[in-house]
């Protein structure tokens, strides 16, 4: 928890102020019944109107002081809560953006997403209600007991028995509830997942006339879900009535015991008894709030732990870039296994790519060809062997320098919410509109941009949902080539293009990137065959390298790929 607590530190002063204000306003409400007992004892019994007015006036003062402190408290509290969230959110995102891929994938995208959103919101709630939970509730409960004590110790003793019992019951219930809610959540996910599955498989289901069966499956999941929902709802429904009951019984006992003691001539007054009854109401409220806080603690703990896990990660310091290196790159005897995998993805891979060369890496799915991209981009470090850029070992240059000299069009092209121009310009922030359009034209997306009446200001939706897969690929290519680099990698970047478009695009590309190193990763023989050299990969190993003609003579895997795609007849 250390990292999270560290973040709280700047807010300690504010928190202390909140605690103080909270204490004052709680004490104000705590003294109300005490004053009322005075009215009963001295005012009514003593038939003294002046005392009644004086004590009533005092109550009014307390009420107003209570209001003012509460308002101030709210003001400071809302500021602290929102400032803390701001600090936490920024800290989280900056940390995550500095993570290495090993660290990143050890948690995973969807979990990181919930950590930066849901978990942060949970902590925001903590920051907002911490003072109330830690200061007000105890003051209310303990103060209530003390006030009762000051009136009569026998009565207070009763509280000492009942309050712990209520607390133990509630925390036991909370623990159980937590588990049940988890199960209910899971069951709800099950139902929704089955429904989603059913909706997406509609055609197959209808073709096989299985709607009734699928309905049965969903209905079964709904029934299970209902069962666990009822269980958890009923259990959490017990908290209120049980706590109320326990404290109500205390009321009865206080009245019974109190009346006997008064009759026996103890120092107890009727007003004290009236006050005691009201303190019980206060304590009840405090206890109920406390019980919900207790029920909430496991969630907070989980969120805290999850956030802490992120903040504790080391990440990489961004230690400057800008060093320009040449366009030769090599892998020598590189082996690599993904952190979450047991199977080696690359085994003893060596490649040597010289400046200005155009090299293809070909292979089927799972051959390891995209892993090569990830090592070249310094997303991961190889387990064995070394990668060098312009003769420099990757371990000696910063990751930023590597990424500054290499430009990549990734297989999964990311379109960010923003304009078409912004998306391309990410490759080179200083590019002029003309330069952006030039790159767009080469990537065959210029026509699309011109068709839009907003031109470069055309807004692309998040993840590029308002354009097609092919268009996304072409935006990615434009972004990649506009970036000034010495090596350009195209990872399966032409797969959504038809052959005619691809050949035109590649021709324009060769002119635009003349003299630069190009690495083309592909499944298509037709894409690979025009390159200076081709590396053939299968199951994480290089099984052949050379020109198309050489490989057609001596590499069986390559021949098979070629024939399976282009048939026997060569045009």
């Amino acid at each position: 928890m250390r990292e999270v607590i560290k973040l709280f530190r700047p807010f300690v002063k504010g928190m202390l102020l909140i605690a103080l204000l909270n204490a004052v306003s709680t004490l104000c409400s705590l003294f109300m019944p005490y004053l009322m007992s005075g009215i009963v004892n001295d005012g009514i019994a003593g038939k003294n109107l002046e005392t009644i007015y004086r004590l009533g006036g005092l109550m009014l003062v307390l009420a107003v002081v209570g209001l003012v402190t509460a308002l101030l408290n709210t003001w400071v509290n809302s500021k602290v809560a929102s400032d803390f969230t701001y600090a936490l959110q920024n800290e989280m995102l900056q940390k995550i953006n500095s993570l290495t891929f090993e660290e990143y994938s050890s948690i995973g995208t969807s979990s990181l997403l919930t950590r930066t959103t849901d978990d942060v919101m949970t902590l925001q709630e903590v920051a907002a209600s911490l003072a109330y939970a830690v200061v007000s509730i105890p003051i209310m409960v303990i103060g209530g007991i003390v006030m009762t004590f000051s009136q009569d110790w026998t009565i207070a003793l009763l509280m000492f028995i009942v309050v712990p019992v209520a607390l133990i019951f509630v925390s036991w219930l909370a623990k159980k509830m937590d588990k049940l809610w988890d199960i209910a959540d899971k069951r709800m996910d099950d139902q929704n997942r089955m429904m989603r599955e059913r909706l997406s498989g509609l055609r197959v289901i209808r073709a096989f006339d299985r709607e009734a069966f699928e309905h049965g499956r969903v209905a079964g999941a709904t029934t299970e879900m209902t069962g666990s929902l009822i269980k958890s709802n009923v259990l959490s429904g017990f908290i209120d009535p049980v706590c109320m009951f326990l404290l109500n019984i205390v009321t009865v006992m206080i009245l019974y015991v109190g009346s006997r003691r008064i009759a026996a001539g103890a120092l107890l007054t009727a007003g004290d008894l009236v006050a005691a009854v009201q303190y019980i109401a206060l304590i009840t409220n405090g206890l109920l709030a406390l019980s919900w806080t207790i029920a909430w603690i496991p969630h907070v703990r989980v969120s805290m732990r999850r956030i802490n896990e992120v903040l504790r990660m080391e990440g990489v310091r961004q230690d400057g870039w800008g060093e320009k290196l040449g366009g030769s790159v090599s892998l020598s005897h590189v082996s690599f296994t993904y952190p979450d995998s047991e199977v080696e993805s690359l085994h003893d891979v060596s490649m040597d790519i010289r400046e200005g060369e155009q090299v293809a890496i070909i292979g089927g799915t799972g051959s390891g060809k995209s892993t090569v991209t990830k090592l070249l981009m310094a997303f991961y470090r190889p387990d064995n062997g070394k990668v060098t850029l312009d003769g420099r070992d990757y371990r000696e240059v910063s990751r930023e320098t590597v990424r500054d000299n290499l430009s990549v069009a990734l297989q999964k092209n990311m379109i960010f919410e923003g304009t078409a121009g912004e998306n391309i310009r990410m490759g080179r922030p200083s590019a002029t509109d003309e330069e952006v359009m030039e790159a767009a034209d080469i990537a065959h997306i210029g026509g699309f941009i011109r068709e839009q009446k907003e031109g470069l200001d055309y807004r692309l939706a998040q993840l590029g949902t308002n354009i097609s897969g092919g268009q996304k690929q072409r935006f990615g290519i434009a972004r990649t080539i506009i970036k000034p680099a010495s090596i350009y990698i195209f990872d399966d970047s032409f797969s959504a293009l038809d052959y005619l478009t691809e050949s035109r695009l590649r021709r324009a590309l060769n002119q635009y990137l003349a003299g630069k190193t190009q690495i083309i990763i592909t499944q298509r023989a037709a894409t690979a065959m025009r390159c200076d050299r081709i590396y053939v990969m299968e199951q994480g190993e290089v099984v052949g390298s050379g020109t198309h003609e050489e490989l057609m003579r001596n590499c069986q895997v390559y021949q098979e790929i070629y024939h399976s795609q282009l048939g026997g007849d060569e045009a």
């Binding site: 701001y86 096989f208 949902t465």
Partner: protein
Amino acid sequence: MKIAEEKMMEKDESTSAETAVRAHKMKKTKEKSKSEKKQAGNGKTLIRLIKDMKVIYGWLVFAAFISLLSVACSLATPEILGELTDKIYDIWEGVSRYADSDIPKWCALLAIVYVGASLTGTVKMMLMNYVVSGFFTKGMRIRISEKIGHLPVSYIDHTPNGEIIAKMDHDVSIMGGTVHNFLDIIISGVMKLGGITVILFAMNWTMAVIVIILVPFSLVLSSWLASYSEKYYNESRKINGNIYALVEENFTGFDTVKAFNLEKMKNDQMRELCGKYREKARQGYFYSGIVQPIIALTNNIAYIIICILGGVLAVDGELSVGEIVAFVLYAKQLAGPLESIANGMSMMQSTFASAKRVYELLDLEEMEEIKTETMPAGKGEVVFDHVSFSYDPEKPLIRDLTFTVKPGQKAAIVGPTGGGKTTIVNLLMGFYPIQEGHIYIDGVDIAGLDLADLRSQFAMVLQDTWLFGGTVYENIAYGNEGASREAVEQAARMAHIHRFIQSLPKGYDTVINEETTNISGGQKQLMTIARAYLANRKMLILDEATSNVDTRTELLIQDTMDDLMKGRTSFVIAHRLSTIVNADMILVVNDGQIVEQGTHEELMKRNGFYTEIYNSQYELLK
């Protein structure tokens, strides 16, 4: 959680530009009609909701009875407490003696009433949970699930999955919540409110008037403040949604962010949004935070007035101490029902919205299923006779399509994306009703055929492989229940996936679910090929059936595919032209029409559109 859900829905909504536009159009018309007859609609929805509660009427009456008991108990307690206080006061004053005061009796009575209140409250809570969740919401959800089975494909195609799931999950929950609160509002709320008012006035006019004015005043004030805080809360929620979107984008494109050194840019964007959020969240917290103290103040004032006024009256002997205590307690109880009524009212709006969304789905027109004509025992001749079809009247998708496929022939459909290839399959299998013309299978117009019977003629393998969350065995045997283990294994062997399945830790009993990552897209597609093989239907549809399979594996299963198609009328859609050169007939489709038709050789001789497509794949080699 909420945000995530909504985000997911949004994402689904925009899976294709077309769907998005359609959804937008629908929304527009919806908004219009909403403003026109919002009130009338609400009334109708309410009546319908009440009608749908029919299944639980009996239980509700029972629960109402228990609720009444519980209200009675809680109304009785201040009275008894007041009585007890008076007796104790008298003893303290020395007016009466303990032995004469039957205090123990009253204490016992109080205990009984407390037990009664807790007991009735608990029973009501359990009853309502069981009844509402077990009958009402569960019934609603099952009705929705049932309905899905009877809806036309077109509706589900054009409705984001997330929207349907949200209706079943979230909207039904909201409806259930209101049904749950129904009793609280009517019995506990109204009855209690009335009861307390009557009692207060019976006890003392002046004080009753003050309490009755002050308590609602604090509620009005607080709900006014709450509306303020809600405004900021909504704004902050919206910004929060933006933050979520930004973070999601950042994380999804983590590799791109790294590759282009965009970390700083993303951090700056984030900081700006978080700054906006901070402002709104602060205001939201403030306005919602001051509600409680202000209510407390007005309650305190009421309390003080009761104390002072009650004290003065007590000195005059017009009121007893016990009555003051009772008054204080009643005044405190007054806030409860008022709050539950206010909450219920504010929940009504969202309930109506949810109920409308659910009823909209339940009211959708179902597919006609009265057609009973069954398939003749033909051999699978398919005739398209001047067929026209469109989703959108302005954009005809299939225009005047006419062709004949003889029994056992392999017909390939080629053409650019969006030209209508898949639509032809959709029409053939009756997923969409055609608007003009006829489709005949073995001489029978499919318009009159029982859909299940029609579809039982086909086996299909699609580009989007669909496997459900069951075992590998169940998935291959899908639609052929009771297929023997041997038959399933044989089918898998034919699809060249048997060895892979055996290599899985649990073999054919491996459960396929979202966490299954060790099965590739290609392997999943091979399983669906095995499924089609096992199904052994008269006709076959292969829509990009090997698109996820490695080209070399594709070569391996070529024989299986040929075997599969032998003797069956087959429709093949493929963009890899090598797989279709041996088709008996190639239909070249563009813009919803057949532009060319014939065998590979005939079409190549023509030197037209087909030749152009065919040659383009060799363009790169030049």
